[in-house]
Amino acid sequence: MAQTVGGFLLVLAVILPAGAVLLTLMSGRHAERIALLVMPAGLALALAILAGVWHSGASLVYFLGGWAPPLGIALRADGLAAAMLVTTALVIGAVGLFARGSFSEKAAGAETRAPLVFWTMLMGVWGALNAVWLGGDLFNLYVALELLTFSAVPLVCLDGRAETLAAALRYLLFALIGSALYLLGAALFYGAYGTLDMALLAGRVRAEPVVYVAAALMTAGLLAKTALFPLHLWLPPAHAGAPAAASAILSSLVVKGSFFLVVRLWFDVLPGLPGVPAAQMLGALGAAAIIFGSVLALRQARLKLLVAYSTIAQIGYLFLLFPLATGAAASGIWGSFAWTGGVFQLISHAVAKAAMFMAAGLIGEALGHDRIARFAGIGRALPMTVFAFGLAGMSLMGLPPSGGFVAKLMLLTAAVTERQWWWAVVILVGGLLAAGYVFRVLAPALAVTGRPLVLHAPVARSREAVVLALAICAVLLGLVPLRPSELLQIGRPPLLLDPAP
């Protein structure tokens, strides 16, 4: 594999947010202005990379410093990475516009550190995520993963209350053990095959014990960071306690970083290894997460906790990708419904959950509390926000024509055509439960009350509009054609071994 034209764009995608962080730290102010200036540039860059991948029909590749692997480090953008880059830039941009109101430096008053930390860490998360999407080297990805954690943890405890500090510490401890296990697996890979480049490793791995141990360690570590059931304990307090803009980033993007690495590990590094029992086990954990997360979401009294538990359930859908994609005919994983559906769930959940968390934040700000039982009349006071919440909820339930519908329908199709009907049952039950918890919020919110609701604090119309725009994006995602996507097949590794049973 050689370097391609336009590969320098990949470096820029990582450098740009990192440069924003450095500039903010050096100047010590203007954090918001710098971040808002960088956001459109980052979006343009992501779109340019997407266009480059689409037109050339192959991955963009860049070797850092001109050193080719195994000695050097490669950055690669395949169709999957390009799609994630654009999704990230879109969600970060929307969150930035939304946060303009709540973290603006003038409005903060006494506590001026919170906006500085928020904008710096937002840029840090962005840079780390771009490094995760583009990284081609397992150790480099470890550093990106740690950067992601270090940027995400301060976002949890921005307001400094004791329970958010405890939530941040618990999150950090889970994440540290997770990345240590990942690093241990990477060390074993290096010890066995003398390289950490994913493309080179894919050609060298054989079905031997060290590979299984390394893959198991790395997968377990990444699952802890992704908060897959039963390693999800840290997620609800951390995501529900953070300010709304931060929750949106944490829930929609940060947990996807480590999930993405599980996908890279299983489908890029170990594409040909027979792993059907392991894939079925990941699917079973995902199914348990769907049921457990949805049932707990139904039982929450507070809106933000409900949304956080719904994230646990939606993460579960992502893991159905493993049994369904490995169950597809070995030659056709990349062209299968399961592959496209799984990746589509990744993207559509990112957009819908960001919109939903921001809508929940606006409702909480307007009412001064987020207890669902006392939502009567909010639908009339904040019609745009409640409508946005409902649209995002449509995508989580999988109602047409939303992005979530397309993703879940593809997974369902894969489950039925591969005769793995038990996953189909879980997908359908999960959709019903999701409908339950979304309606549990909408029913009191839309209830007719005698007297108009007195709002605790006014909510800027522009912020409502941002949330609604993102929710509409989540619905518009459903207009993509219902067939395996060609973009997501670009740059996928060839399947070397036939995983004969």
Binding site: L71, F139, Y142, V143, E146, T149, F150, V153, C157, G160, R161, A162, E163, T164, L165, A166, A167, A168, L169, R170, L172, L173, L176, I177, A180, L183, L184, A187, L188, Y190, G191, G194, P236, P237, A240, G241, A242, P243, A244, S247, Q300, A301, R302, K304, L305, A360, G361, G364, E365, L367, G368, H369, D370, R371
Partner: protein
Amino acid sequence: MSATTLYGLCAASLVGLGLYGAIVHPQPLRKILAFNLLGGGIFLLFGVIARRGATPGMGGDPVPQAMVITGIVVAFAATSLAIALLLRLFATTGEASLRPGAPTPPGNDQAGG
């Protein structure tokens, strides 16, 4: 038993001890220390791999050594962040523990955002 095997076993037991401590101990400070033990085991393993993969005439393969240095920097940063959070938690609540009532109880009336 060769030196690399001995060090390899040593690394494995450090990893085991660290993982055990991180899972079993409820106190955050002990968990942080256990994480460092776990990290130490992994770095030692990298050292063993560097030694095993040495080309003739060299003390070790330089690539794992470079990774150990990066790993140590990352682990140091992680430990400082965790300790800073723990100190802040202690300053706010008066106890350095995650157990009693630390997660927001479901009946809590705070909007949290």
